[in-house]
Symmetry: C2
Subunit: 237 residues, 2 copies
């Protein structure tokens, strides 16, 4: 995911779109491998999109889409793929239906796409998303970002992950040997260890994940058996 946002880098706005996409993709069984927040700068956007498009299966951009001077994402993505910027007739038709009176140049900017882009839409075609090569171009406004991601669910769905969690009362240093031993026996396990310092009811939360449900449950049993006696507060299956 490429987040385009001076407002985020300067601390004026907290980015919620990356967290939303992370949760959506997780639910769909799709791994999110990278999130980068970059400034509103055409060259930086073009370079980043070109590199991520080559390195990853799918790229999402967030932000910089709209009618004003700082909405430069479409132009930058066009440069990334060496395309012209053109007016998409379907987007123009949608805008014509939404806007009273003639479309101004600022309105028309919202119908611009890199040449060869396709529009991806759910059955309602209320929020079509511009897609070029393997890049989905999404707006930064949270409500629209969310609606467009929801419209893409059926295209993105993968194989689900199974998550188990253990809450323990010991500190990380005390449980580290148990974690190492379980990882030796279950090398494919995704095992996370997250300490809490505020006064909560547990000291460390352990997360166990796999795309194989039997495997994660076997690893869970193994680890619970290895942890220091009396340290397991709760197990979530």
């Amino acid at each position: 995911m490429v987040v385009i946002g001076n407002e985020i880098l300067s601390g004026k706005v907290v980015d919620g779109n990356s967290g939303l996409l992370a949760r959506e993709l997780r639910e769909l069984g799709v791994s999110l491998d990278r999130v980068v927040v970059i400034p509103d700068d055409t060259e930086t956007i073009a370079d980043t999109v070109a590199r991520y498009s080559a390195e990853f299966d799918v790229v999402f951009t967030s932000g910089g889409v709209g009618p004003t001077h700082d909405d430069i994402t479409i132009g930058a993505v066009a440069i990334a793929f060496d395309r012209e910027v053109v007016i998409h007739p379907e987007l123009r038709r949608l805008l014509d239906g939404w806007i009273d009176g003639d479309l101004t140049p600022a309105h028309l900017k919202m119908a611009e796409v890199p040449a060869g882009a396709e529009l991806v839409a759910d059955e309602h075609f209320r929020f079509p998303t511009v897609m070029i090569e393997n890049v989905y171009v999404l707006p930064g406004i949270p409500e629209i970002f969310k609606a467009k991601v929801a419209g893409l669910r059926d295209r993105l769905r993968g194989q689900p992950w199974y998550l188990r969690q253990i809450y323990v009362s010991s500190d990380e240093a005390a449980i580290a040997p148990s974690l190492d031993a379980t990882l030796e026996a279950f090398s494919e396990l995704l095992l996370g260890s997250y300490p809490r310092l505020d006064r909560s009811e547990y000291s460390v939360k352990l997360t166990l994940e796999s795309r194989d449900e039997q495997y994660v449950d076997a690893a869970l049993d193994d680890l619970v058996g290895r942890l220091p006696a009396g340290s397991v507060l709760r197990v979530e299956r």
Copy 2:
């Protein structure tokens, strides 16, 4: 900023450290140019840190520091700079003071640093930060991350930014020509345009920024004069 965090990419935890660092740096007059969230993977961390260290003046990492198997940042940063991992005597001394009894291998892991790293600390030396080349290695636990960043303030301070804001009732398409005209006259101005879709009292918030206070105020007057009559709801100086 390089955020190391499977838990963030998988949507289980919302990263608050990047927002905190963005706000802190902004207050100190330092530009944050990039935030990237990457998985807990040694090669990815080493590659990213090496690249960012060469490209930017200063790099902060967040996460992957501690006593367990998933705390791999120190080793990865060592690889980025082609160093060995060694036990830092000062960190070992601090741990000896905190821990009852002998230090275990898991405890000692918390004293590891890339060879040649220095410890940066405020006068209390309660939260020394590992620094190697131009990279500050910070832990992911929000409370400690915050305390360590606070301890670095005096080292990081730069030239302040001046921010002015205009709240308008018109939509972005209607004000785009005014924004373009002001940018033509004030080409150094950082001008942001942020529409709100929820039913708030304004339609668009405009942010004007510069490191020159007189310049941003002149640009503000210029833009207020150009915006459509009656569209300016409020100006924040």
